[in-house]
């Protein structure tokens, strides 16, 4: 039996049609799109077509608003650093406590450089408090950077409304939409979003290509200066293979947008119901009523996530966890902590993220495989007694060092 891949928020399989589309750009179509001759010219046209496809999936008004980059992180860094460079008198940044490290670690670094970083808190379902946000929107803020959807829980943030509030306050608004593009229909020209990051490999394109959407007229300072590529906004010879692949992947994502939101969502819901019914002391984290159609994050109490993943991997199922151990850090996922999930559950969170390639049969196999794995690990757990958690688990087992 083939292994089951349920880690699509980490990365996705390159669609076979994408692979077919990019192959010529490894061989006969090797030209530099900047060149005058026909070798380069043809590749130049291919980039133009890809740019149109990205414009289409984002609903951007102009194709010149699309800047190709190397990845989502580069797009995030470019957006935030550009806002700071372009408005040197503004020293504040607004973001959230649950952002991806691509934004959070950059902001933490900027804080050491003298910038003030406001991180919006979330409630127990991972939702933001917009009243808190409104109070922070002053003329001191250089940029707001808020993710469209959270990578761990799939919780969707009200970025359209937040962008409008920022725009009205004269503040730049950037959204890291790497998890949202291809899963949530969007039409940026009707929004107040000034900048948006996307990453190719999250939507079945190759790794190594990303996009920064930059609304026409928004003041911009490049991260990489040099050649005239991307209209001087991102120097460096284009990753033609990646860009052509991304264009094709965007076309395919548009075709499958409805399927993603109906069929994939159904599979996800079946997986959730099946596991919750079979595994006691487990619960869904985040906001189930407002999340990405493909994402399910379940906390299995009293056991640890890496151990779950290893046993699932042995059973041929790939997923990911918010435990400290899977990242090599000392703390469980910052997203789980921010939502106030207790440690005995936060370390046992498992994220199942589906794609249009998953089948109902696969989902049934996972529903069958997970409960015994959880039971096996609970048997080893000092917090677990025969059929349920020990009484007052945190007191019954209170190890020596904190």
């Amino acid at each position: 039996m083939a292994d089951i891949y349920l880690d699509n928020n980490a990365t996705t399989m390159c669609d076979p049609e994408v692979v077919d589309a990019v192959m010529p750009y490894f061989s006969e179509q090797f030209g530099n799109p900047s060149s005058m001759h026909s070798f380069g010219n043809k590749v130049g046209f291919a980039l133009k077509a890809a740019r149109k496809s990205v414009q289409n999936i984002l609903g951007a008004e102009h194709d010149s608003e699309i800047i190709f980059t190397s990845c989502g992180s580069e797009s995030d860094s470019t957006a935030i650093l550009s806002a700071l460079k372009a408005q040197p008198e503004r020293k504040e940044i607004i973001t959230t406590v649950v952002e991806h490290p691509a934004v959070l670690n950059l902001c933490d670094y900027l804080a050491t450089e003298g910038y003030t970083v406001h991180k919006l808190a979330v409630d127990d379902k991972g939702r933001l408090d917009l009243e808190e946000y409104k109070k922070l929107l002053t003329d001191q803020v250089a940029i707001v950077s808020v993710m469209w959807a959270n990578n761990e829980t799939g919780t969707i943030f009200p970025v359209l409304e937040m962008a409008e509030l920022a725009d009205a306050a004269g503040v730049l608004f950037h959204t890291d939409a790497v998890q949202a593009v291809g899963k949530i229909p969007m039409n940026l020209q009707d929004t107040c979003i000034h900048m948006l990051s996307l990453s190719g490999h999250k939507l079945h394109a190759p790794k190594g290509v990303g996009v920064l959407y930059l609304r026409r007229g928004v003041r911009f300072r490049p991260l990489l200066r040099g050649g005239h590529q991307e209209r001087g906004r991102r120097a460096g010879t284009e990753n033609t293979v990646g860009i052509v692949g991304l264009g094709k992947a965007c076309d395919l994502a548009m075709e499958h947008m409805e399927y993603e939101n109906t069929e994939v969502a159904k599979l996800r819901d079946r997986l959730q119901a099946g596991i919750l019914a079979a595994v006691p002391h487990s619960f869904v984290t985040g906001d189930p009523s407002n999340r990405l159609p493909n994402t399910l994050n379940i906390a299995f109490e009293y056991i640890e996530g890496e151990a779950i993943l290893l046993l699932m991997n042995k059973a041929g199922i790939a997923a990911s966890s918010g435990s400290a151990c899977t990242s090599g850090s000392l703390e469980p996922s910052h997203v789980m902590k921010a939502m106030g999930i207790p440690y005995t559950a936060a370390h046992g969170t498992v994220r199942f993220s589906l794609s249009r390639y998953n089948t109902p049969e696969e989902i049934e196999r996972v529903i069958e495989a997970v409960p015994p794995i959880v039971a096996k690990l609970r048997k080893l757990s000092p917090y677990w007694d025969e059929n349920g958690p020990v009484e007052n688990p945190e007191q019954a087992f209170a190890p020596v060092y904190a």
Binding site: G305, A307, K314, P399, V400
Partner: protein
């Protein structure tokens, strides 16, 4: 994914001695739920001999935490408490054919559970003196707390010193930014400012270049002058060797190779290699070029025949 050894995988997939021991008379609870690993070790100890008859574990933790617990119980069974206490965390890691640096703390947790259980059996109070911080140096598994404590205890102020005292940063060097950040904070706490070293090659290399630059360029010496100079240096060293009952004699010079004969007490002395090293160092300094001093016994045969 972690690079776990087959033994780690085996002990994780099929843990030995899982669960708590019936009639246990020693219990050790250690770990930290915030960090995501915690372990309860239960032992059944024969009171007269203090031999561990049975051991069991209950672990909340990752693959290597469970494997380390399983390994620990296997290792202590049949040992006396004193023998068991000799088990180090490295022994546990070795038993498992090694652990990734990020996971070494799992073996530390195993050893601590053992200490806690023995203390519990003996009616002592076990206090943990081990505080764990974020892993900074992945090459040598050195954490934040260890680096800070060492900086404080020894008044360190450079990355190089931190490396010399803790090994942190001595491998791939990617963690130097992290070490600099820690130094900045620790120096600020004692009222100093962190001053990074000069950009460029490692200090060791810089020094080497400086000592090279000082002496007269070797190109100025003719062959005869050069040999005379070598002879001169050796003459200068002889009184010291003679005082110890030995001597050195110049046999030949061939390019950078200087062949010498150690005689008297120097010949066959355990310290001969060090003596030659000293001679070589002196020659390098005086001539300002690289010189290799070779004992005549190691001289290639065809040259020896000349």
């Amino acid at each position: 994914m972690w690079d776990y050894s087959e033994t780690v995988k085996e002990h994780f997939y099929n843990p030995k001695n899982a669960g708590s021991v019936t009639e246990a008379n020693a219990v050790g609870d250690v770990g930290s739920i915030s960090c995501g690993d915690a372990l309860r070790l239960t032992l059944k100890v024969e009171p007269d001999t203090e031999i561990i008859l049975d051991a069991g574990f209950q672990t909340f933790g990752c693959g290597s935490a469970i494997a380390s617990s399983s390994a620990l119980t296997e290792m202590v069974k049949g040992k006396t408490l004193d023998q068991a206490l000799e088990i180090s965390n490295q022994d546990i890691a070795d038993f498992l054919d090694g652990l990734p640096p990020e996971k070494m703390h799992c073996s530390v947790m195993g050893r601590e559970a053992l200490q806690a259980a023995v203390a519990n059996y003996r009616g002592e109070v076990w206090t943990d003196d081990h505080e764990e911080g974020a892993l900074i140096c992945k090459c040598f598994a050195i954490d934040d707390v260890m680096i800070r404590d060492t900086i404080k205890a020894n008044n360190l102020s450079t990355v190089e010193e931190v490396t010399n005292y803790t090994k942190a940063g001595g491998g791939c060097s990617s963690c130097h930014e992290g070490i600099e950040n820690i130094l900045s904070e620790e120096l600020a706490a004692r009222g100093e400012t962190f001053a990074p070293g000069a950009i460029g090659k490692k200090e060791g290399f810089v020094n080497l270049a400086e000592t090279k630059a000082e002496p007269t360029p070797p190109a100025k010496l003719s062959t005869v002058q050069r040999i005379l100079k070598i002879q001169q240096v050796l003459e200068g060293l002889r009184p010291a060797l003679q005082a110890d009952g030995g001597d050195v004699e110049l046999l030949d010079v061939e390019g950078k190779n200087v062949y010498v004969k150690l005689v008297g007490a120097c010949s066959g002395c355990q310290m001969a290699a060090m003596t030659l090293g000293g001679v070589q160092q002196k020659l390098i300094e005086e001539l300002g070029e690289f010189i290799k001093v070779i004992p005549h016994t190691e001289r290639p045969v065809e040259i020896a025949g000349v």
